[in-house]
């Protein structure tokens, strides 16, 4: 009876993993198969390992440029989000002034606001001031999409940083700004790391705004460049799979380093609501 229980336990975990992680592994394996093998009868392991798809990715489409664009937009978005978000969260949860409750609710509701609404006006506005088709437009949009959410994540983290420590520092004569940098930020660092990663991931994946606010090939980000490829060369499976493996790498690395804080941030925000 107990053996059956154990078997059942591991079987259920295995099923969950197959469903949610399996497809990605399948694609990773397939990116190493030569095209004729891909189009033939499927086999689990490649009969012949090839890196031709990865080579094509760099030779035939501007993959590296897309990669660089995505990276720049992602890093700038994440940094702006982390700074502005942390400032705002500190202000809302640590300072007292009329309307901060309202501000908090404003940020939260702006996060669930349907963003398609502002797509058209934003597009028109950016064309008028001439920043359409630049990374700046994308950063502007991405920060707007993600920063309010970061306030929400930070809330839980800030609650875990005891006010007393700050008080003590203030009483000891440290300046307010000094207190923030010396005491508060180190304590809240995991939270800030979490929102940085979260913002980077979101910007790295974002498609709707990136596909609309970017026009020329030289400013395209990865999701947009790959989506174009998916449309035009629907049949170049090998290249597309190699591409998706390479797109997946930064999120996976980022997650490996800061995944703990990231999950902590999500769950803390989620449970405490």
């Amino acid at each position: 009876m107990k053996v059956i229980g154990i078997i059942f336990k591991y079987l259920s975990v295995a099923v969950v993993l197959t469903i949610f992680v399996g497809p990605m592994i399948w694609v990773g394996i397939n990116s190493l198969k030569p095209t004729p093998e891909l189009l033939g009868t499927p086999s689990f392991l490649p009969k012949k390992v090839t890196f031709e798809h990865y080579k094509h990715l760099f030779n035939r489409i501007a993959f590296l440029r897309y990669y660089r664009n995505s990276f720049i937009v992602g890093v700038v978005t994440a940094t702006v989000t982390a700074v502005a978000g942390a400032f705002a969260a500190y202000s809302i949860f640590r300072c007292k002034y009329p309307g901060r409750g309202f501000l908090y609710r404003f940020f939260i509701s702006s996060y669930v606001f349907p963003k398609v609404l502002v797509l058209v006006p934003l597009y028109i506005m950016f064309s008028k001031i001439g920043i359409i088709d630049t990374p700046l437009a994308l950063v502007a949009a991405h920060v707007m999409l993600i920063a309010p959410f970061s306030v929400w994540i930070l809330r839980a983290f800030f609650q875990n940083v005891p006010v007393e420590i700050e008080e003590a520092a203030l009483i000891d004569g440290a300046g307010r700004v000094q207190t923030i940098f010396k005491i508060f930020i180190p304590l809240a660092a995991p939270g800030i790391a979490a929102i940085w990663i979260n913002a980077f991931l979101m910007s790295w994946s974002e498609y709707l705004f990136a596909s609309t606010l970017v026009i020329s090939d030289s400013t395209k980000t990865l999701p947009v460049g790959m989506a174009y490829f998916l449309q035009e060369y629907a049949i170049e499976w090998g290249i597309m799979m190699a591409g998706s493996v390479l797109i997946a790498i930064p999120p996976i690395i980022g997650f490996a380093f800061a995944g703990k804080y990231f999950v902590q941030g999500l769950t803390a925000g989620g449970i405490k609501e």
Binding site: S91, L117, V120, I124, Y207, M226, I271
Partner: protein, 298 residues
């Protein structure tokens, strides 16, 4: 949090100064465009730069008279409701499975979120490949097992596409929510379970009487978030099907996007979005009242 030291809160300017950057940013990139959208919806914008003519409610009337609009409203409801239901059940199921004691649980509990961490374009490529009628492994297995004779067109037939898209969206979001449920499950006191087990309560009984009530506030939050996010999903559908075949996966966000950027009817798109927003607000208000009433009854 209520007990904030008097040392910190002395003058409001410092606080306001800190919140200002984000506030300004959101005001310029979200609030102003949102107000602008209202203006556009009452005007006749086809091309940027041409003079604007105000046309009153014409755009609203036109959108409301379109069958495609109502079809996509219905589709959005189907899409959202099934997504919420499946995500709720699915994430609870996955969380319960992962909440057991097994080797490598720390690792797996963290990494299960992978489908959510990966960009949507990866989801699209991965699943288009697996579900491809000619070369995909899914159909290969189905045919080899003798379940079907002709490959199923998961992403190009009227019967299969919407269900497939819903399931794939769940594939992305269940891991995310399951991580949250998992964290909630950790807060259920073990002693309660042990005591109940000694009293001879069955597993199912323990689940419904102890676990579920304990985590139900979290589930409610998840349901609400899932609903709002699902209704707003654009990229998953667009990258998988572009709203097709015909309009069979065209939910409101897709409808609005096509209106604006395929037919270049910005004004009608703006009108449609405002109505979408109204619809969402109604749902939120309704749910809030519902949850409050429930809370009051308890």
């Amino acid at each position: 949090m209520k007990r904030i030291s008097s040392v910190i809160l002395k003058d409001p300017t410092f606080g306001l100064l800190l919140v200002l950057p984000l506030l300004l940013w959101v005001a310029v990139t979200l609030l102003y465009p949102a107000v602008d959208a209202v203006r556009i919806s009452f005007s006749n914008v086809r091309y940027v730069g041409l003079p604007i003519k105000y046309v009153g409610l014409t755009n609203f009337k036109h959108v409301l008279s379109e069958r495609e609009f109502w079809d996509s409203v219905i589709r959005t409801v189907i899409w959202s409701v099934s997504n919420v239901a499946l995500q709720l059940v699915g994430s609870l199921g996955v969380a319960l499975v992962l909440n057991q004691e097994y080797k490598g649980k720390e690792f797996i509990r963290n990494w299960i979120i992978l489908p959510w961490v990966l960009p949507t374009i990866v989801l699209a490529i991965v699943w288009k490949w697996i579900l491809d009628p000619t070369h995909g492994v899914a159909n290969y297995i189905l045919i080899r097992l003798g379940i079907v004779e002709r490959p199923i067109e998961f992403l190009s037939s009227t019967t299969w596409t919407l269900p497939t898209a819903i399931l794939l969206n769940c594939w992305r979001w269940i891991p995310y929510f399951s991580v949250i449920v998992l964290a909630a499950l950790q807060t259920v006191p073990k002693e309660l379970h042990e005591a109940a087990a000694i009293d001879g309560a069955s597993r199912w009984k323990r689940f419904t009487h102890i676990t579920l009530p304990f985590i139900s506030p979290v589930l409610k939050v998840i349901a609400l978030n899932s609903l709002l996010w699902s209704a707003n999903i654009f990229d998953t559908i667009w990258l998988l099907t572009r709203g097709g075949p015909l309009d069979h996966t065209t939910t409101l966000p897709i409808y609005i996007y096509s209106k604006a950027f395929r037919s270049f009817r910005f004004s009608e798109a703006a009108a449609a979005i405002l109505m979408f927003l109204g619809l969402l607000l109604l749902v939120i208000i309704y749910l809030r009242i519902l949850f409050k009433e429930e809370g009051a009854q308890r």
